[in-house]
Symmetry: C3
Subunit: 312 residues, 3 copies
């Protein structure tokens, strides 16, 4: 898909040599491949090319100066069971209610730093959990997903090289689990990640592991024209609540409102406090959607974006 | 498209460890995507992958060792009006008569350093104006094109991060305009670029901005079998004239002759003086074209190329 | 195609921070383009994108952090004659019997370091000859292939920039030739590469050119259900024999057994001695193949891989 628009971000007022108003754009090409054996087992692979421009930097996602492909994900499916290796989805990432029900899965054109997410680290969302990386190599992981009736279970594991022992990979290793149950128009979900050898940070004189012990839980409902969710996330650095509501207006419009309240271990943390946002979408037809979003962050910086998404 | 051939370049005689005869090749894949809304507005995006080999360096266009995609251009069109953002075309680049009417838009297989262009800096063509970059990120720009009857107007603007002021992008900013009027078999065109915070150079004790105040004008005609143009370009470093004529010979052949005269501010400049070139094309059918070109540069180095272009 | 599986490699026990059991995977996209002139000459080009994960490093083939395209190969064919430029195949690489008759052209999922190849340098196969590079830029070469009746001839030449002489490319230059004759179910082949300005190594007090004077010869047979080959390779560093046999079992299975005996100039060389391997393939239908391989190297490290290949 393609998307582009204008971004006004008050936080850029503090960055030397960067304007507060910039073009934000992304072009993403996705290549999905699959084949099915005679016994009904499906093998598949996915790879993406992404070209992004943000904050006045057109080569944002192009290390070395060229836009390339991300790390591939390989999967095998049989019935309700799927096993993926490589650039995996991640159990926490896959939890319903983590992202907003908007086209950018955040606010505005490019998500606007995803202040709506309730899993917060110092200075905001740090993506401390394993997640599919559309631009880089992603996790070196393996995961299993099982769906049966309204129940979905998801276990993921990733590991990095490292450490000082020959023959053992003692870099960061992450294990995560997600369970979801859906019934009629409602869902409840919970997810947890534990991590070994991960990054640490000293907070109030105590050393914490930033990617260890991440908890997420959410309840949500979708009645067609209306929807709402309440989500909670907890890390070693902050606990956070997000309440979201969305409503269709007429045949082509949708409005999403959310408010996030974060209690950081450090009171001077920019993520500590209350943030809220509003997202408006209007379907232009032919796969094109007009999107506008406004966010007031916990640090009281305002940000506004308006632009267009289109599928092809 | 693909193209490959042999390149003999006398100027390489002065480069240590490089032969005067090399393979020159390029493979370019272009991905164009578009969608149309119910109201008739068209959104589109373009991205290119390019693999090049020149002067004995097969990884020429592959920073980091892999050939990737360039920066994307996004556009929206309605009627005769088009607005693009990202890796824009550029107003001067879009002026008719700037490039030659050959398949390489220069001479030979790879343009042979485009000595035919009348916008010259020190040591030759420096591409001081915004132009679509098939290999890198291109300009971080926005442009508007309007076509009505025989008239075409084009305004482009690009800006880079930089400077020492928080909240403002004080890197180089370029504004350019191009106007063209076509009537029966003739066209006249003029284009101008002004630049702020651009690169500077000291010439004859005076500091000039190399990308500021670029003027281009051309008149041309195309009578089918015959064609001709006269083009003039002026920069802070040099003024330059190019006269070009082209003729179809029989059903499949075409010959282009051009002569360029450049008056540089510095008489020892390699671009100062007269250069001329000849380009021969023969249509092989099936989208393949045989191309041969010869250039004698202002520094009296001769260069010869012969090879093949093919579309697929 | 895509492929992924698990790799157990005893040799990784000696590498700090790396596990002996890893995911091995590769996703490869190939773009082939061609066009034919009215006179029957065919022009073509090939480029590949490859994303690989080995030994716990998901970004293995991604210099700069993004997976890009390799260097392009361009070709022109007329009748039995083909001329390629760019990222060429290479005359030795093209010799039948050099690789094994398995889906990975080696053992297991990713070839397992190709211990089966009889052209050995210090520490194993060093790919001292020109060969098509699926990930990098490959050789800066030109080659001619001619096929007539059961006879195939192949001459390749590549050259790199370098040296201290202006106007001459005095980097490494390689010339190689391969001749093959096939009759009924048998083939005989011989190939040779000579090199100038190539890398050198001091062995037993003598300086040798590692990529110069490479000889390869093989005889093979394929009777449908059974096949066998005997291959010999000689470099300045080692001489080596490989005997291979393969057999179809039932409708969907195939087993390949090989043994390699290498006599290195240095007796402490890890490649010196006898290695053997076994590869099992089972056709799952729909373009998917189950592959398992076991190798015992000359240094007595064992390695095991099992996984899946699939075409799409």
């Amino acid at each position: 898909y393609g998307r582009f628009g204008l971004d006004y971000n008050e936080a850029n007022k503090n960055v030397i040599g960067r304007s507060d108003t910039n073009i934000t754009s992304r072009l993403r090409l996705q290549f999905d491949m699959s084949t099915e054996t005679d016994a009904g087992v499906v093998f598949n692979a996915r790879v993406r090319m992404q070209s992004e421009n943000r904050d006045g930097n057109p080569g944002r996602s192009a290390p070395g100066g060229d836009n390339g492909f991300n790390g591939a994900r390989f999967g095998v499916s049989y019935g309700g069971l799927t096993v993926n290796v490589g650039n995996i989805i991640g159990a926490i990432e896959n939890a319903p209610g983590l992202y907003t029900t908007t086209i950018s899965t955040g606010t505005g054109i490019d998500g606007m730093d995803f202040h709506s997410l309730p899993i917060k680290g110092m200075n905001g969302v740090g993506w401390y959990w394993d997640s599919y990386d559309s631009d880089g190599m992603g996790a070196n992981g393996i995961e299993a997903l099982y769906t049966f009736s309204g129940f979905t279970g998801h276990v993921s594991y990733s590991r990095n090289n490292g450490g000082t022992v020959a023959g053992e990979a003692k870099g960061e290793a992450r294990t995560a689990i997600m369970l979801t149950y859906s019934f009629s128009d409602y869902y409840v979900t919970a997810a947890y990640q534990s991590s070994e050898n991960g990054p640490t940070r000293v907070i109030n004189g105590k050393t914490v592991e930033t990617t260890d012990g991440i908890t997420f839980a959410a309840v949500g409902a979708d009645f067609g024209q209306f929807g709402a969710k309440l989500a909670y996330g907890d890390t070693e650095e902050a606990s956070s609540w997000t309440l979201e509501g969305n409503m269709d207006i007429g045949a082509a419009s949708n409005v999403v409102l959310w408010v996030n309240s974060t209690d950081s271990e450090v009171s001077t943390d920019a993520a500590d406090g209350t943030a809220y946002g509003i997202n408006y979408q209007y379907d232009l037809g032919g796969g094109a959607t007009l999107v506008a979003g406004y966010v007031d962050t916990a640090a009281n910086d305002s940000q506004f974006q308006a632009g267009v998404y289109f599928k092809f």
